[in-house]
Structure formats: structure tokens, C-alpha cells
């Protein structure tokens, strides 16, 4: 086994193995402290980064952080590694890889061509050597486009998930929130409900409500009820109007098991949703959610740092050509990401790593009330991710999710970012907004007064 050590200020730091180097090189996160894997001083963190910078990328193919024999995610990563795509970067160290990513000549096309040669551990490793601005700059060069009824992820565009949750799944309450979101130009990534009741019957009713609304207003959108994948499989079997398959996933086999999901189950659901052929402009049918800390919270972290495990979840995601991958960055609480600074860092890391691996990354920019964070921190991350070219964000009314009890980004936040950076909606959705009188020729949101069909629907409701 190779030796990992570095002398800094007269003190030699030894690191037991590769995962220890990775964990100790990680920016400060409370979750790594909780797991007992983080650096015990800033000097030790710095020494670990020096060690990491000099390691060949190829080492990650030879030393697994989570054992190959006992973990299906590791097997997936190693067995599907694309050596041809890896060839151009195969002789680089992690430090050289960072410099290469930042080079002028490394453009969208070159980044796309190496994506399948990069393992999540390589992506995580290089991110640990990158400052926030590096994470923004490199991600902004990458374009990951996916399609179903809308086209998501084009350069210069920002899509949104309309999240119309209600504390009792009340159909009128959900419909009212959807209507309000549409009037704000929200929903071109997906209209997706987190249901309170996690059973097939309740999920089917909500799915039908969404599909009826979509058809009635001839909206080019995809809809989703974020229920467990086994429920969605059952709805597919019952010929329910399933556009997208949702599932939370994580970076180890054991953590996925705690979510009640296996790679076989994901494959079956992917095939099932494809067989329905409901997409109009494309057939990306999967919607995944992830978040740093989920593996530790399931006691399935193998003493690997939470950011590396998060990147491994993206290796799972990319097997199934997802439409949307959403890192729900601050939902898990301060024992994993303590404050605004840690949440912002994690959001940028996740977005960068996902994009580098070729995924359509979005971010639920969010926090809970016991985290040291507030809406200003979310504004900061929102603006940074806008600069980094995030594919989509959440649209939650007033940023306050009254079912899940956390704070995210509001309808207005999305329009702030669009206005600030000249970002546009998905083209199909934009055409629809113009048609019903909610957007002017300069792609600016109009007051709702002209949206006659939607307001007619409101009158019916009241």
C-alpha cells in the first residue's frame, strides 16, 4: 500500500490510506466531524491537500475507498469506467487535473469527451483542491442538456421545479399553488409534489391532478409525485400518467438499501418509464435527489467523507440518463452542514462534481431553522450557482415549504436570477408563457392580468 505523508512546518503528517487523505483534505464540514474523519487542524488539512495534489488520478482506479467486494456502487464505478475517455487525462495528478480543467483550451467539448472517464472519486478529489471560484468557472463551461417535454440545461437558461406541497395534500391547495407558480413563470424543469401520504392510492390521485392540469392548459411541462420508486413502479403497471420516476439515492450500497432502493430496482423503473413513451422532445425519464450526509445518517459511510460519498451517488444517477439531478443541499441539518458557509461550499461542490460527471445538475438551495443560515446565505448561493450555470432550482411559494418545514428558494428568487443574468426559461415553456400572455418580447414576466385561461381556472376554484 502506498505511503501518504507530508512534512509541513517541521511536522510530518501521516495518512493511513487514500480515504483518509480525501477526508482530511476536505473543507470543514460538521458532518465529517460527526463521522470522526475530518482534519484535526488547519495545518493537517493543508498537508492532506499537498498529498492529494501529487497523487496520480489513476490511483483512484487501483485503491477503492469503499471495498469493491462488498459495495455495488464501487463495482458500478469500476466496471463501467471508460478507459478511452480517460486516456487524455490518465497521466495527470489531481493537482495537474485542476490546472487542466481551468485552462482556456479545456472547453465544453473536451469536458464532455472525458466525462465518462472521470470517476466520482476523481471529481471529489479535484474539487477539494479548488476554491469556490474554480468550482463556478469550470462548471460554467459545461453544458448538460436533457429533454422530456421541455429542454433543460441549455447555456443561458434557468429552469425551475414548481414545488406545490401542502400539509394535508389538499388538491385545491396544491392546484392554487401551481396556478400561482405558473403565473410567476415557474415549472419548466418539473411540477413535482412531495406527498404527505406515502401510498400508491394517494400518489395516483395527485398524479392525475397534475396530468389533468397539464392537459387542460396544454402546458409543455413534465409532472412528478415524489413518492418511493416502488410506488411509481406500481403506478406504471397500473397505466398511471407517470412522466418521471423520482428516487432519493446515495453513494454506497448500504445507504441505498436504507432508502429501499437497489440498482436493479432503478433499472426496472427506468425501463418501465421509457416504455410509456410520454416524452415529446426527449426521453430522459429519471429524477434523482441526493445530499451530502445521507450515507452517515444511514450509518453507511465506510469512514469516507460526505462530499466524496455524494459524488458517488452521481455515478449511480448517470447510469439512468436522468432528466434532473437535484442536490438538496441544506435540508439535512447543521450536524452535517453547520452554517451558510458550509452550505454554500457544499452546493458549489455538488454542482461542479455532478456537471463534471456529465449530469444535469440542479440544486435545492435550502436550510433549516436550526442551521446557522438565513435567506441572505441562500441569495449568495443562488447567485453563485447562477454564475456556475445551474440547470434548475426550486420554486417554493415565499421560499417557505409548509409541508416539509424548511426554507428554499421562492418563485421571486428564480425571477431575480433570470433578470440579473439574462437567463431564460426552457424554450418550449417560454413559447407557452408568451402564448398565454405572461411574458413579453424581451422575455420579461408580465403581470398576471393577461393570463385569461389561468385566471378563468382561478374563478372556477373560488
Amino acid at each position: 500500500m502506498p505511503q501518504y505523508r507530508y512534512t509541513l512546518g517541521g511536522h510530518t503528517y501521516h495518512f493511513r490510506d487514500l480515504k483518509t487523505v480525501m477526508a482530511k483534505a476536505s473543507p470543514l464540514k460538521s458532518g465529517d466531524g460527526l463521522a470522526g474523519v475530518s482534519a484535526t487542524s488547519e495545518a493537517e488539512r493543508s498537508a492532506a491537500k499537498f498529498v492529494l495534489a501529487d497523487l496520480p488520478l489513476a490511483n483512484f482506479l487501483n485503491e477503492a475507498l469503499v471495498p469493491y467486494e462488498t459495495d455495488a456502487v464501487t463495482r458500478l464505478i469500476i466496471d463501467t469506467h471508460d478507459t478511452d475517455a480517460f486516456a487524455p487525462i490518465s497521466s495527470m495528478t489531481v493537482g495537474e487535473f485542476r490546472d487542466w480543467l481551468l485552462a482556456y483550451g479545456t472547453d465544453a467539448e473536451r469536458l464532455r469527451s472525458v466525462a465518462s472517464g472521470i470517476t466520482p472519486e476523481m471529481a471529489a478529489a479535484v474539487s477539494k483542491l479548488m476554491r469556490n471560484q474554480d468550482l463556478v468557472l469550470v462548471a460554467s463551461k459545461i453544458e448538460t442538456i436533457t429533454r422530456f417535454r421541455t429542454t433543460v440545461g441549455l447555456q443561458g437558461h434557468l429552469s425551475t421545479r414548481l414545488q406545490p406541497n401542502h400539509p394535508t395534500d389538499d388538491p385545491k391547495g396544491i392546484a392554487a399553488t401551481i396556478l400561482d407558480g405558473l403565473l410567476h413563470g415557474i415549472g419548466d424543469a418539473v411540477i413535482g409534489i412531495n406527498p404527505v401520504a406515502d401510498d400508491i392510492q394517494a400518489a395516483t390521485q395527485l398524479l392525475q391532478l397534475l396530468d389533468d392540469l397539464r392537459q387542460r392548459h396544454e402546458m409543455p411541462v413534465q409532472t412528478c409525485v415524489l413518492t418511493h420508486i416502488t410506488n411509481t413502479l406500481a403506478m406504471i403497471d397500473n397505466d398511471g400518467p407517470v412522466d418521471l420516476v423520482f428516487q432519493s439515492i446515495a453513494g454506497t450500497e448500504a445507504a441505498n438499501k436504507s432508502f429501499g432502493v437497489t440498482l436493479d430496482l432503478l433499472r426496472d423503473a427506468h425501463q418501465g418509464a421509457l416504455s410509456l413513451e410520454r416524452g415529446r422532445v426527449g426521453s430522459n425519464v429519471m429524477y434523482f435527489e441526493t445530499g451530502q450526509g445521507s450515507a452517515l445518517s444511514a450509518e453507511a459511510h465506510h469512514d469516507v467523507d460526505q462530499q466524496t460519498l455524494e459524488a458517488r451517488a452521481y455515478a449511480v444517477a448517470r447510469q439512468y440518463d436522468p432528466l434532473l439531478v437535484n442536490t438538496v443541499v441544506g435540508f439535512i441539518g447543521p450536524e452535517y452542514l453547520y452554517d451558510g458557509k458550509q452550505i454554500i461550499r457544499a452546493g458549489l461542490e455538488d454542482h461542479f462534481c455532478g456537471k463534471l460527471l456529465g449530469l444535469p445538475m440542479g440544486c435545492d438551495i435550502c436550510y433549516t431553522n436550526h442551521a446557522e443560515a438565513d435567506q441572505n446565505d441562500m441569495d449568495n448561493l443562488l447567485t453563485l450557482l447562477g454564475a456556475a450555470g445551474v440547470n434548475f432550482i426550486m420554486g417554493v411559494p415565499g421560499a417557505d415549504d409548509v409541508m416539509l418545514n424548511y426554507q428554499s428558494t421562492s418563485f421571486n428568487d428564480a425571477n431575480y436570477l433570470r433578470q440579473l443574468m439574462g437567463l431564460r426559461c426552457a424554450p418550449e415553456f417560454e413559447t407557452w408563457l408568451e402564448k398565454i400572455g405572461l411574458m413579453d418580447g424581451a422575455h420579461r414576466l408580465l403581470p398576471p392580468d393577461n393570463a385569461t385561461p389561468l385566471l378563468g381556472y382561478l374563478k372556477e376554484m373560488v
Partner: protein
């Protein structure tokens, strides 16, 4: 602030009758108006204060003392709020001095202990300041009626739910009850939860507990919560367990 918003969007505020979500809001450009920003800030301020206001142990002790109830104050191994928020594992253990106090309390208790009642700050001190004593006033007479022997009430600072496992174990109680502040939301920052665990000892899992939540003004009433708790305890003593397999006493009676 004196001028009303320039234009009311047509009838959208009526949407608000269907949901507590913040919909139908007016806009300044595409942004939120001053009034809605301030309202959000106010709600977040309540939630933040609920988490961070210091736990007033003296207040709770005095209020219980005035009702002739003995108390023991303990502290978790999390020395301050910042540690508490980052290290849930430390919030589940009592510190060494507290352990000694609990052992002494056990020695002083005559005979056995049926119930170890713990009042803990959790994630909302406000929830405990406003609900704990009022709830116990409803519940303790019921405990007396059922001849359940209670240890002195334990007041626990920087505590998580599972601290009641160690406390119940040290007091050798048949069952532990912990009143604890729930994570505040923007709509309710003073919600109290109650967890009960039969045969409490360190290492119990959440699947071995039962929970009553959302106890607050505007939520579950103190008296109703006390009734529910008494029924759960009766069931727990009869079946000698708590958790997912526990059937409440009312359904047991129906079966028998």
C-alpha cells in the same frame, strides 16, 4: 411603508384560503414587496429565537417547585448550543456530574420507579417554557390516579430525545417520558413533542419509542396530549414494550 402597493394582483389573494403556503403575494418588479419580506423575517426570527434562547432551568424548577414537585437538573455532554447542534451524539448522553446526581436521586427514591419524567430543551426552548409545566399539570394527576410512582422530574439541558434512555436507566425506571422542544418551523416555533420508551437503556432505537407531537397552542391541546400519553403508558405496561408494536390501550380494550 405608508403608501399601499401600487397594484393589487387581481383576486390572487383569494388563493390563500386554500393553503397556508405564501401564495398570491404582490410583486415589486419580479421581487417580493417590503411587507412580505418583513413578514418572512419576523417568522424566521421567532424560529431562530426558539432555537437559541437560553433554556431557563430556574424558571421551570421554580414553577414545578411551586407545585411541590422535586426536580433534578442535568446537562448533556454537549457543553454549549453550537456543540449541541453539530454533535447529536453528545446530546444523547448526560455529563459525569449529572450522572452522579441521578444515581443519588435513585438511592433516595423509596421503592421502585415507574416513570422517569424528563423535561428537555431540544430544538425549541420556547416550546418547553410555554408548554411543559402546563402539560404536567394535566398529566401528573393522571399518573397519581394510576398509582404510577414518579422519580423527581429531570430537567435536561442541551438534550436530544435519546438522553431519556440513559436517564431512565440510571433511575431504574420502568418507562421514560421526555417532553422536548421540536424543530421550529416558520409557522410554529413553540411545538413540544413527547417520546416514551419502555425499559429505557442506552442503545434503544427510535423504532422502540412512541411519539406524540405538535403539542402547542393552536396544535394538540395539553389535556388531549395527556390523555393520549396515559393510554400509551397503560398499553406499554400491559404489553411490556413501546414502539411500532405497541397498541394503544383503547384498541386493547376493544379486543378484550
Amino acid at each position: 411603508m405608508t403608501k399601499p402597493p401600487a397594484k393589487k394582483t387581481m383576486g390572487l389573494e383569494r388563493l390563500r384560503t386554500f393553503t397556508p403556503a405564501r401564495i398570491g403575494l404582490d410583486r415589486a418588479g419580479s421581487s417580493l414587496t417590503t411587507r412580505d419580506i418583513l413578514t418572512f423575517d419576523r417568522d424566521h426570527a421567532h424560529a431562530r429565537d426558539a432555537v437559541h434562547l437560553p433554556f431557563d432551568v430556574a424558571l421551570v424548577t421554580d414553577e414545578l417547585g411551586a407545585r411541590h414537585l422535586a426536580t433534578v437538573a442535568v446537562h448533556s455532554a454537549a457543553r454549549d448550543r453550537a456543540t449541541y447542534l453539530q454533535r447529536p451524539d453528545l446530546g444523547r448522553k448526560v455529563d459525569p456530574a449529572s450522572k452522579k446526581r441521578l444515581q443519588e436521586a435513585r438511592l433516595q427514591a423509596q421503592g421502585g420507579v415507574d416513570l422517569a419524567v424528563v423535561v428537555a430543551d431540544g430544538l425549541s426552548t420556547r416550546a418547553i417554557h410555554t408548554n411543559a409545566v402546563a402539560f404536567l399539570e394535566e398529566f401528573l394527576p393522571m399518573a397519581a390516579e394510576n398509582e404510577w410512582r414518579c422519580a423527581p422530574i429531570v430537567i435536561a439541558s442541551q438534550a436530544r430525545v435519546a438522553i431519556a434512555d440513559e436517564i431512565g436507566e440510571l433511575l431504574e425506571a420502568r418507562l421514560s417520558i421526555i417532553l422536548i422542544g421540536e424543530r421550529p418551523g416558520l409557522s410554529a416555533a413553540d411545538s413540544m413533542g413527547i417520546y416514551i420508551t419502555y425499559a429505557p437503556r442506552r442503545g434503544r432505537t427510535d423504532a422502540e419509542r412512541n411519539c406524540i407531537s405538535n403539542i402547542r397552542r393552536g396544535g394538540l391541546r395539553h389535556q388531549d396530549a395527556a390523555d393520549q400519553l396515559a393510554r400509551l403508558i397503560m398499553g406499554a405496561f400491559r404489553q411490556r414494550l413501546t414502539g411500532v408494536r405497541l397498541k394503544p390501550a383503547s384498541s386493547l380494550q376493544l379486543e378484550s
